[in-house]
Symmetry: D3
Subunit: 310 residues, 6 copies
């Protein structure tokens, strides 16, 4: 959350101009955003898979103030939408996302207010918490979220993908924990989730402290992504295939798995074991278990069965 | 823990039959299980190494109700047995384990009871907690447990190996977090321990949500296993070598190390440091320290010394 | 913390002699230690980078009693020194460090005292806590610490490097969690931090329980180090380059990043998010943010700006 | 959260009728509820004090489905309303609240849905979490909440008051943890907060397990309330006086105090100390501090100064 | 856990003799212990209430080695016994308990073993953990435990009663945290549970550090007990009345309440709220809820209904 | 920590003058402070009891910058001083302490520094942490600290006494959580420790939010103090008596008790039980245990024995 204090800054550095070359050439896909959204294009590749596409390609999917609130609306709806069993997130155009849209944020929501430093600080905290919610809704959504990254994933983009469940990328993708370059400690998720997402703490620290780019191979070997694809087309096919595997299985099993994996990350093993025992005392009483077991005994895929909505 | 609710299910799906091909061909090793065990074969390759072999090869070492209680008896005894300093676990026959034995579990321990949903749930929780104990005893046993996996390790097999300390496998091994295929969230350890066992959270999620197989190479690169061997023979030799390295060292040092590693996993660094300082205020007062230091100064292996039982 | 009990041991094993070959040939670099330090050489490759060199090359940088206290003095000063923005740690001579200096520790600080076992234990705990502090100061220092390891890093050396932020090594480096060979559970940091530093728990356990050496390639693939260099010269150049990247950025951003990464390691994601929101409510009110953002908009490196001391 | 399962129950016990005497005589205060609320009357005794009155006196302020959502709206608004610096909660009519409105809840929101037990359970959890939010908003509101209880406070009423900051009551008040009488473990706050609110765990357990009434004297001696007043009039005067003391002080100090007290309850002392140090690094930079200190040096009340909105 | 080290001590202080006056006069109640127990008398005042009486009156109910294991057997059985819905614990004879039976413990279980200090320490820890289990079983038993104390409750007696749910005493009762008088920090529960059981930390510290007696009035005002009775007869009647209130209510509600109260004590409010929501997603699906609600609507006690076993 | 920002404030409110009447009349006791201390008088009523007297009576023992550092020196020394087994803290002159010395703090240590808000904030946090240490040393000191309060205990005085172990007061004593009156949330301990020190959360909140005075009777009934005395003379006699009880007992038992009580406050019961079992595996191996037990068997006080230094 970077720019609450830009107002005075703007005054101070009044000569400052955004170089024209930062206005990326339009590279919008045919569709455009899906109303009521202006930054997201929502589609349903299959009945139970929802595709959420970051869709401001002409702005390199930079996250403007509309985006920060549309994500919350979108994922809260998906959480309640029983048809949706898995979500795929990707970016339209030449790259996944350039991160926060500095200019837009400066001109809209980020207006520091308050009569003294304490009051300004109070307002800043409220805004940070609101921005954090934009990515925490991904984690709170019980449906698994597969994110497919191509081109570049910068700054707040990394905050976002660490809140997703499964990460895929193309061979040409690169990642950059950019915040230190803007003069702040990343505060919408990267510093909190990245150390729990990949196994090398030295690498986490290096990325966060130097803002160096990490390319697909290192993203794979470090475990940030679990698969690398040759290009975007192959990746999207792969993402839909994984999503299809998940969507075809029991939603009781799938969503219970996501919730318990996140619970386990934040608790001791003993607490985690007690929690899932409490969880499953009801969840095992599902028809899905019998249907799935029957499929297993018949040597068929669990996807051959139909499971009720959850 | 899957099948508590099978009773009504069995009634409902009464035509359901187990396909004959699921009855695996007998592939028992010469020995057979070691009385009083019917599913485990226990041996002593050396005085201080205990080998626990899953031993229902004709059933692909599927975990039946006998297995779930025999493991508890076995590891509780090993915990108390001062001669035993390290445990090696492996599977007899063609593969490590096919996971839970659905048919057996249906016909024996898994009978839901209770006059209403709450009471049935209560009973289910008790059974889950009991099954969890089957693998938690491995962790509570202060002696290190090396597990050697060949062929396949499916479902509850993964729950089990994540509770072991050191994981080895053969080149032909594969792993499958199977529970989502049976319609449930894994509740005997995988979801709680796997995220703390390997570094790529994206991979953990993908495995748990899609039930896809993971082969030896990915198991190695992701850190699930620390070594891969060409075949079972080489792996067992390697397992015994590692076990020998451990068994030859001071049991005060070895068992204190295991206990503190597990403690550290569940606590903050500050808590972990305080705990081991409290632990070592007595444990440093061991003869083993002088014996080991002497060996070090003599440029000999600590295994050249003899350490008292613990 | 190993040798508190050596006093009686020395009496018991009175014939014991340190083999002459353990006295390594002198391989001191030209400079020698920097007064008032006798085991550390401190220099400033640039104004804002401090180089702390373990400097007892003739003793393979073994950690004697002077070292344990000099490190505390040194890092407490660096914490307060506003000029210093990043620290590089390396070892003089043929290897990084041979770990604790057994003979020295026996002859100096490690004298168990107390009229009964409880009182001796009490004294041991105090000494362990003091030794732990030697490495915890690295973590408490808000300036990032890059450690560059060549040759060997043994025993307490591993405890030390796990408390650093970024780990680099040469192709000829190897690492050894040595404590189990000396008859004790490692108590100055390895068992607490290593499981949070690398992603493979099986590997952590194997290293700690068998004391086997791990070479550079495995250190890289397991994530213990984030980069491997051909030789020491290349590594030192690389370390300084990384340090330069960090030193040139906003110290508000850099040090806030380190503090929040360590906080996140020890807390749940929810706690971590709340903490950084509280942290940044003041830290975003820095001029560095505007300066850095301006550099970004001008497509320049943030290093082209000058940031006030912190 | 009790009645999700009433639907089938209603069918089963179809002869069941609500005894007419449970329909309490109308005892509404003059005003009535304040639109848009139907169960709450909101007023401003002074500019900075908001009075939230439970206002269904003819139903003994029983909590119907409207109440559960109106509370959330109300407190979320108060959280954002800079004029409001403290909240007083009380009940209109003869008593504070009779707790949940069973009949209303049965007829409206509580309709269990789902094709099997797991799906019904899933829906129940969502509803419980929503009901929990009704009282958690009191805790999340940074403005202190003083609750004034007269007559009776039953069931969900106790859940509610344990989420308030300061508890007062009349001499004729009594309290009853009623849930066990309805066949459930209290799940909207009492079991979680009561043990942290009063000091005698034996008393907490007795109240929760036997549903016995506790009268004003025991409420005072046990610390549930901090003051007892002769009658409602005296209590309301007292509540407003306390509220006035709070409202007249620096909102930076007051709201920071509430937030840190709640933080401290859920964390260790060390974590709490670090949190407030991080909090106050900005909050001490308030004009209020100088204004308040000046008042102190002038031997005047801090209320003689005016503090900016927060 | 005090006496592991008595063996050598006994040798050292060989002249030491137990003064004859410590052998209390026999004051056994008519019945005697209930086989297979030698230290406990078990009875059933009503079908669903179990009375566990400490029954070595001639030894002032001192806790000998038989007691420490019989308690575990007894409470594990009560946990499984569906008829038992509440437990009352009291002491036979002139007082509740004199605490640990020093002489018996010296002559039986407490034999330190091990070749060096570390190994002796290892054995001590195992014994302490076993003794801790004797009282932790009370807490793990899901049925509420009411303890009724008369005369004296000394040392391990205080450890025991802090693990019970509801504490009652007679006017002549006194309590003494005795361990500091024997030269040890209390290690079977008092130091861990007492601070969470009563609200005055100053009092907890004073009692634990000075071993002074606390009488009934202070026990009541501090919240250690929730009720004081004139004499033992009145107290036992009161205990049975409370037990009757509990036993007559829904066991689903009662046992869920106990489990969640204990969970809440050890977790944050947020964790506690999530846990009970997970718990109740199945537990609300009980017939008891409808039965209890019907009784409530009929203005009858929930005890007028019959609830199935749990 | 209040006054970091006074510097600019002083400029702003330049007319501000400290009213002469706040300069309390000298009421120094005969002795004066004990060199090298200027604010503390240290004495040894008995060989093993240290009396630390706040000693600026002419300034109502207000805490100036000297005090904040002298306390750290003093308690760190007492922690190491084996002769000292218990500490008594009291105040010289007419009252215990008026809290922080605003004027002194303004003129000395509290000089905010930094080029922007972030840097000023950074400095403030460092200063708060340093001030927190002044009282945390009391808690870290393993010897029990008895505090005896007369007259008034205001502001930082409350922060201080909540870090002590046993609290006593005179009938004329009163307590005031003063910080909210100065415009800040208390940040050197009160908000963190008071909720864990007394049982009524409503009272804690009321005191902290309104800054009202609490008198001796309420301090006693709420559990803030465990005893009230008629006057200072009686209290000091009582304090010394309690201190004598503690000092005469085994220091192994006494200090182990303090450490484990503080540990238990910050951890779950399960963690607390494991910690003390680890602690006592060495501490039970003390001669004190046998000496104390012998005294017990001889029906003598443990104080009749002599225990070695710790």
């Amino acid at each position: 959350m970077l720019a609450v204090v830009f107002r005075s800054a703007v005054t101070k550095y009044k000569g400052l101009r955004l170089p024209s070359q930062t206005v990326a050439r339009a590279m919008s896909s045919s569709g455009g955003a899906t109303p009521p959204y202006t930054t997201l294009a929502i589609s349903r590749p299959t009945e139970s898979i929802t595709h959420v596409e970051l869709h401001r390609p002409e702005k390199r999917n930079a996250m403007n103030s509309a985006f920060w609130s549309e994500m919350v609306t979108c994922f809260n709806e998906l959480s309640e939408d029983a048809q949706c069993r898995v979500v795929v997130v990707s970016g339209a155009g030449k790259l996944f996302t350039a991160g926060i849209d500095l200019m837009d944020m400066m001109n809209s929501v980020l207006q520091p207010e308050g009569d003294d430093t304490a009051r300004i600080s109070w307002g800043i905290k409220k805004k940070i918490k609101k921005l954090q919610e934009t990515f925490s809704v991904i984690e709170k959504c019980p449906k698994p979220v597969v994110v497919a990254i191509h081109g570049a994933c910068v700054g707040a983009g990394v905050d976002m993908i660490t809140a997703c469940d499964i990460r895929l990328c193309t061979q040409d993708a690169w990642f950059q924990v950019k915040e230190v370059d803007i003069g702040l400690a990343a505060d919408v998720g990267t510093l909190q989730r990245l150390p729990k997402v990949i196994g090398s703490q030295s690498l986490v620290n290096e990325l966060a402290l130097t803002a160096r780019k990490m390319y697909a191979d290192e993203a794979k070997s470090s475990g940030l992504v679990s698969r690398v694809f040759a290009d975007k087309e192959a990746m999207m096919a792969g993402a839909l295939e994984i999503a299809g595997e998940i969507a075809g299985r029991s939603p009781v099993a799938v969503q219970g798995t996501k919730i318990n994996l996140i619970y386990a990350r934040n608790h001791s093993v003993a607490d985690g074991l007690d929690y899932i025992a409490t969880w499953n005392m009801s969840m095992l009483q599902t028809e899905d278990l019998m249907k799935s077991a029957q499929a297993a005994l018949e040597k068929k895929s669990p996807k051959t069965k139909t499971y009720s909505k959850l």
